[in-house]
Symmetry: C2
DNA sequence: ATTCGACTTGTCCACATGGACAACTTATGC
DNA sequence: GCATAAGTTGTCCATGTGGACAAGTCGAAT
């Protein structure tokens, strides 16, 4: 992750520790890829190893088991996936958030990395450890969105009599739902749904 | 499905055809259960057979393969799952739909049958046949919701300058997203999010 | 130079999986 | 009655699976 050398290719010889870190990272990334591609339950450690370009035994060495590997890979991937497209949410508006999300869906339709998000949420249903750790992440994002909403309510662009936290919950759900439909149905027009959502949010504010 | 006898127990002897239909139905129901429980990729034909109370070989006999079985089971289950809680949408309001959905989520949190919906949507990502057939269903529901919205717009309870179809898309996504979060995060307050959604939809209408 | 420890690699195993199928039971049409 | 077709059941097999592990490689510390 945070190595200071330019070379990161697995074949480039470095210290043991560095080499280890590199293959470990490769395995994690391959795992995240495959979760999105095949679904949480459709991933095999062998497929992960193959995609990462390492022998199957390397997985056993670096991770305690499949569950731990998937959890770690998924949470790391989601964190970067969420942080990357929303770099500065400080002065953002709900409008920005919705737009960023919508654009992210469209842009990412070719690579299907976003499916990871839904896969993780469904996996949370069956994996308590994952659920606990993901809940933290989620709460964090919900709180951030609620703050954005409150700021806009003070500015008057969003009706003040709507509970900001509840609205944040509804909006996050709506965005994830749009992601879900975008992934599942080829004909789903996410951008148009996003516009409708925008219209709902701002219809009574002083634009 | 449409048998006229009261007895439907598998052990009760009936005609060959009836017995066949019964075990077939048992397999389908077990399959739908297990998809919701274990995830699309986590289901095995053996587990299905065990849950249905039939020997493993029965699955091979009644279905061409695992994929066909899962598809058929999932689509049938979803159809009843959607139709059942919304019996008469004819004179319904958006309010009704949101309320019904929210209540459905809470009620169903113990049995986790709703997870099936999300599992199917994710499976659509990887199964073209399933995607095509599910898209029809989805389109049907979206159209119905759009009609409800238009009716309310004529009555004036929903702002008329919002595109009904787009709003329907956004609302369905929001509801599915709320389902997703309700399933994944134990602390998620779906009812409150539903209220916020309601407030958004009706905030400018003449209640 | 030698030892040491971290990482790698290939192989092994016990087990689950999906699917096929032959041998059976049993209602139904003749 | 009896042949027949539909449904059932147990068993078999090739393949995939997760995990373990011993032998090997190689740089680092002494």
């Amino acid at each position: 992750m945070d190595k200071s050398n330019g070379q990161s290719d697995r074949t480039t010889v470095k210290t043991s520790a560095e080499r280890g870190e590199t293959t470990r990272a490769a395995i994690l990334e391959a795992a995240a890829d495959l979760i999105a591609e095949m679904g949480w339950g459709g991933v095999s450690t062998r497929a992960i190893a193959e995609r990462a370009g390492v022998p199957h035994g390397a997985v056993s060495y670096h991770f305690r088991g499949k569950g731990e590997l998937l959890r770690e890979a998924a949470l790391a991937a989601i964190d970067t996936l969420f942080t990357e497209p929303l770099p500065a949410l400080d002065n953002a508006t709900v409008d920005d958030v919705i737009a960023a999300a919508a654009q992210w869906y469209v842009q990412g339709l070719t690579e299907r990395r976003q499916a990871l998000v839904v896969e993780v949420m469904m996996a949370c249903t069956r994996d308590e450890k994952l659920r606990d750790r993901f809940a933290e992440l989620l709460d964090q994002y919900r709180t951030m969105l609620a703050d954005v909403i409150r700021a806009e309510q003070e500015r008057g662009s969003i009706a003040a009599d709507i509970d900001a936290t509840a609205l944040a919950s509804a909006l996050i759900a709506a965005l994830d739902g749009m992601l879900l439909h975008t992934l599942a149905a080829p004909g789903y027009d996410g951008a148009r749904a996003a516009d409708a959502l925008n219209a709902l949010v701002y219809q009574r504010g002083t634009r």
